[in-house]
Symmetry: C2
Subunit: 393 residues, 2 copies
């Protein structure tokens, strides 16, 4: 419940006005409310709301990174004393369910190292410097104009935002409590297009990398620009996305990727927390999260695959002779299928010539029928191979 | 508990022999046992064990993909009737906590599409065909020799293994129950090095892609080789790794990656399930999974970052004159730091010349001290920029 929208025109349809209040104390003290979601942000009113709700015996879901990084352990202890649940999936990497992963999914592992790209703004700026060869100042100005960077960009480009997130992730991964200010932190202001040129010569790109690794006696932990090999999956994280890489002593490497923030990814994290906490409020086994996620699992038959429309790759092996493209394109035209491109690699065996036709978005049934007809053609060495092209992944 | 090791020399140290039995019925009927982990595999004895344990009022953790794909919903209903928990994180994508993600982490989203690379053997074979230009038959034979493919490779290379996993993921993502045999399935036997050459011309690679997407009236679902743009994160999944891509109506794109199988990743999934189920056995709030994953969170100071050893990138801007490398390399030698390479891009401004020295693995304190000394040199236009090189991500 967020009191900010009270009395404004942004109240969504279907929410009865009597459910809305501008006074958070009404929510926190209401006897019918079991769970309070705090989406106010900051450490002022938000802290009062969270602590007030816990004191009133209510479970709390929060998306508040600053509050959790600063006071998370104290707040958790208050919740524990009251026997209420505290959930905070949205507080770091909004779009990636990294809390669920570290808290439960790989709880049985012994994590050795985590790497993260945890600040979308700085990652976007680095991506722009790399791709457009523009300098830091120009890219920052453009990012500010587009609303990707704030008027005061310090928290993002100097690594302070990433540092708070890393402190939180390190708590989840290693079971220790770190003061964000103790983490070695260096921003991206000095990274130039030249650095990307040199990095490329070394087979690398540059990212604002958060890292924490176990060593004898503790953790090495830092936020700083670093070179990463271009062929690694971490290097492929572009623009406003976040990612976390974990290396465990037993489970080896796992990797998690998604939007770092934004209203709807954060909303998913908050609603997911609400669902989990609501189930925890009832101790009966029937209220556990079911193993298949849903409480009902109706039988379903897939849709007929022939109706699926995709762009297609058709690869032929033929004995070359004049008129091949004419024959194949006639069959495609009969099936109302449009050709996108015809490709032929140089210097191939004319007796067993592989070449390719790509098709525009077409229903699978039509493509199959055309392929079947093509298979009977005299120049065909083997049946054509048809594969969909998935550009949207 | 696995009865297979009973009486053999593989019993790990620290396990008292009286805890070991060759008769699973002893485990399932033992009054002191609350949770039974079934790691036998198959649908024969494994099914008897799982159903027997549930009937005896015990919670079950299973890593059994076949059993869950075939009988998962029935088994879940039995567990529900008995009020016991069923957990099966290891049953699909052993090294990726995809159950925790879909069941809880992004439970609040409405998933539109999932893509998966769910069979490590076929992905390894495709990676080898692409990288070495060898044909399918040769790569398969080599994979069999190395133990990466089974003597009968059908389940892997013809897509049947991936199909069972996709049916399970679709249940978790979309809340429906699918018969694996109803899923359109096509293997990789026909994919040749030529196809990778053509795919490359199209900016793509080829993967055995599992996909399920909502459409009007149901799901389009298939396992088949498909072209994916090389620049996508899914295309970067190499060798024996698995990956799942999810696109939600609200949370946008998320991506999960890790080992598909193997004893230790599967072990992590099973132990994580045991931890979660054990907590569920006690309804008191104090037994909930704590929000920071650990029950104690001691304060910790990071290790001094100066002691961390990394390979380094040093970028200089200088006014060119003879003796530069001599001066810089002298300072590095004084600090016992070894040079890896010296790089200089062509055609740069001699008055503001950026060039790079990379260093072998060296302690950060030594590098900083050297950089500080270098900053004072007369030809230095600005202080050197030092970044670590992270080859291990």
């Amino acid at each position: 419940m967020c009191s900010r929208t009270a009395g404004t025109k942004t109240l969504p349809a279907g929410i009865a006005p009597k459910l809305v209040t501008a006074d958070w104390r009404e929510v926190v003290s209401h006897p019918d409310i079991d769970i309070v979601a705090e989406l106010v942000g900051g450490t002022g009113a938000a802290r009062e709301i969270v602590e007030g709700a816990i004191a009133a015996g209510k479970c709390v879901v929060t998306a508040n990174k600053e509050l959790i990084a600063l006071e998370g352990v104290n707040i958790w202890r208050q919740a524990e004393a009251q026997g209420v649940a505290l959930a905070m999936e949205a507080s770091v990497c909004g779009g990636i369910p990294i809390h669920a992963v570290l808290r439960e999914g790989i709880a049985g592992d012994h994590i050795e190292t985590i790497f993260g790209i945890l600040n979308g703004t700085s990652n976007y700026i680095l991506t722009e410097i790399e791709q457009n060869g523009a300098d830091f100042g120009g890219v920052l100005k453009e990012a500010q104009r587009l609303g990707y960077a704030e008027a005061d960009p310090t928290a993002d480009v100097d690594g302070y935002d990433a540092r708070s997130k890393l402190a939180l992730l390190a708590s989840l991964a290693f079971g220790v409590r770190l003061t964000p200010a103790d983490i070695y932190t260096e921003g991206i202001r000095r990274i130039s297009p030249t650095d990307f040129q040199y990095a490329k010569q070394l087979g690398c790109t540059i990212k604002l990398l958060c890292s924490a690794r176990r060593a004898e006696g503790g953790l090495f932990i830092s936020v700083r620009p670093a070179l990463l090999p271009t062929k690694t999956i971490m290097a492929s994280v572009q623009g406003a996305y976040n990612a976390v890489w974990s290396r465990g002593a037993f489970g080896a490497d796992t990797f998690y990727y998604g939007r770092g923030a934004g209203p709807t990814p954060t909303g998913v994290a908050v609603v997911s927390d609400l669902m989990r906490v609501a189930r925890q409020l009832r101790p009966e086994p029937a209220h556990r999260v079911p193993p298949f996620a849903y409480t009902e699992l109706p039988d379903a038959a897939p849709l007929p695959i022939g109706k699926q429309r995709r762009p297609w790759y058709l690869r032929f092996r033929i004995t070359d002779r004049p008129g091949i493209i004419r024959d194949l394109s006639s069959i495609l035209a009969e099936h109302s299928i449009s050709i996108d491109a015809v490709l032929q690699l140089p210097d191939l065996d004319k007796q067993n010539l592989p070449f390719v036709i790509t098709l525009e978005n077409s229903p699978e049934a039509a493509v199959r029928s055309a392929v079947e007809k093509m298979t009977a053609l005299d120049f065909m060495v083997e049946p054509p191979l048809a594969m969909p092209i998935e550009r949207g992944v």
